[in-house]
């Protein structure tokens, strides 16, 4: 058994590109999906709202692991072959979409009804009320928790290792089993996750701080 050297470190660092790619696919896909669901969720049709709520509850109530297994094995068992990357991305997209919907819906709900009413009183159509009055305020509220969720999503890409997909965590397992030095191997893996998440953690903190200051400003 050998120690951890340059080839092992390179292997882990290069595997991080799959973690990054998975995170980007999940967040772009999930962001788009979440936006559509959020808008559908404030629809005046009760049926549409019910569908959105049902879907969000279903995805949030299913462990991400099961979603991954369903996307990887379940889909190809029913004849659709997506490969490890795309099926992991699909599962993570559903997951991110459902959670972002909850975050964004909450942000819109937090805007006082008076804002809608005021906008309506100005003669704005519902789409204009949303675009010009509600969303600018809601986006500001939603930003910090969205950034916080990005950190969750990045870390949860590690579950793709279960199906054998060689992203950061699986690379760590492979190096750990080639060198029998799990502490060093997973130490490097943990450090890389930390580096990937750090910008978003800092951003969340900064946004939260800014929001607190803004709220204080309003109070005065």
């Amino acid at each position: 058994m050998r120690g951890i050297g340059a080839p092992e470190l390179t292997y882990i660092v290069f595997a991080a590109r799959w973690t990054i790619l998975l995170s980007v696919m999940a967040l772009v896909g999930g962001g788009f999906f979440g936006a559509v669901l959020t808008l559908a969720g404030i629809s005046r049709s009760r049926r549409v709202r019910l569908v959105v709520t049902g879907f969000v509850q279903l995805v949030q109530g299913t462990p991400l692991l099961i979603l991954l297994l369903l996307a990887y094995f379940g889909l190809s068992a029913s004849g659709l072959e997506l490969g490890a990357l795309l099926s992991s991305a699909l599962a993570l997209t559903l997951y991110a979409g459902a959670f972002l919907t909850t975050i964004w819906q909450a942000a819109i709900d937090a805007i006082r009804p008076g804002q809608w009413e005021g906008a309506a009183a100005l003669g704005l159509r519902r789409s204009q009320q949303l675009r010009l009055v509600i969303l600018p305020q809601a986006v500001r509220l939603a930003l910090p928790p969205t950034c916080g969720f990005v950190v969750q999503a990045i870390k949860n890409t590690s579950l793709a290792s279960i199906i054998g997909f060689i992203e950061l965590t699986r690379a760590g397992q492979i190096v750990s089993n080639a060198t029998f030095q799990p502490l060093a191997a997973f130490g490097v893996v943990a450090a890389l996750y930390f580096l990937l998440c750090l910008p978003f953690t800092l951003l969340t903190e900064w946004l939260e701080g800014r929001q607190t200051n803004l709220l204080k400003g309003h109070a005065r």
């Binding site: 058994m1 050998r2 050297g5 080839p7 092992e8 390179t10 292997y11 462990p63 991400l64 692991l65 099961i66 297994l69 094995f73 379940g74 190809s76 068992a77 004849g79 072959e81 579950l159 290792s161 279960i162 199906i163 054998g164 997909f165 060689i166 699986r170 397992q173 492979i174 190096v175 750990s176 089993n177 080639a178 060198t179 029998f180 030095q181 799990p182 502490l183």
Partner: protein, 267 residues
């Protein structure tokens, strides 16, 4: 993520997929022709299972299973693509058509034979119980009251579970590395492992005086293909017969296992 910490729970989920996939397995009956047409062999190998599937000093796939897969692709006259799997995802990966064959220390069991067809064995080794010298284990019965570490989905975990020693606590870890390091850290009293890994651990921690305790039942493993893939199965058996005869299998086995290959039984 409770499911992740309950291997049984999600193993049954995988089992459900495997069962589901069985219904379409028939559609893949022409694997042998498909490989030729594709010009590529898709072999499912766990690369975190030394010395069978592991990586060399350049982080390229290596090991006994990898050697077998390379030889297989060479004889088929096609290129090799390793489909990385974990122990638990081996069979679902095969059954859902993501790989042509499992070459990943797949122990032959009647249970597994319900979902895959086994080739003739290409390897066999004794699993053993490995522990510090001061731990008294003279027979399997002495494992009663002990914490025994095994890699999840590994042969040791199956064999020890079958032994059903009263009072023995089987602790499952993610892989061999975690299992052996748990022994080093004292989190378990003994582990189930193979001679090769036991020797490596002795070399690395000479002051810990680890020693082999009890030999477990032989683990005999073979390549696995989808049910109904008789053409490919026949080809695999021919391959194993030929390289058993020319000594290629024995040479590779000795290189990776550090011990000579005993006489392999065949079907």
């Amino acid at each position: 993520m409770n499911a992740a910490s309950h291997p049984r729970c999600w193993r049954s989920v995988l089992g459900a997929f495997a069962f589901f996939a069985l219904s379409i397995a028939g559609a893949h009956a022409q694997t042998f022709d498909a490989i030729q047409k594709r010009g590529k062999l898709l072999a499912a190998i766990n690369l975190a299972a030394p010395p069978f599937g592991t990586t060399d000093s350049q982080m390229e796939p290596a090991g006994y299973d990898v050697d077998m897969a390379k030889l297989l692709a060479k004889d088929l006259g096609v290129s090799l693509e390793i489909v990385p799997v974990t122990n638990e995802s081996r069979i679902p990966t095969l059954l859902t058509g993501k790989a042509d064959v499992i070459i990943s220390v797949l122990q032959i069991t009647p249970e597994r034979a319900k979902s895959v067809m086994f080739s003739s064995p290409y390897g066999m080794h004794q699993s053993l119980v490995f522990a510090p010298a001061e731990t008294k284990i003279a027979s399997l019965a002495d494992l009663s009251g002990k914490r025994v570490g095994v890699a999840r989905g590994s042969v040791y975990s199956n064999i020890l579970a079958q032994a059903a020693i009263p009072g023995m606590q089987i602790i499952q870890f993610g892989d061999d590395s975690a299992t052996l390091n748990a022994l080093v850290a004292g989190q378990v009293d003994a582990v189930g492992t193979v001679t090769f890994l036991a020797n490596e651990l002795k070399k690395r921690y000479p002051d810990r005086h680890f020693e082999q305790k009890v030999a477990l039942q032989d683990n005999i493993y073979a390549m696995g293909v989808r049910r109904g893939d008789f053409d490919f199965l026949r080809w695999l058996n021919t391959f194993i017969f030929v390289h058993h005869h020319d000594g290629e299998i024995a040479r590779s086995y000795e290189k990776w296992m550090g011990e000579p290959l005993r006489n392999l039984p065949t079907f």
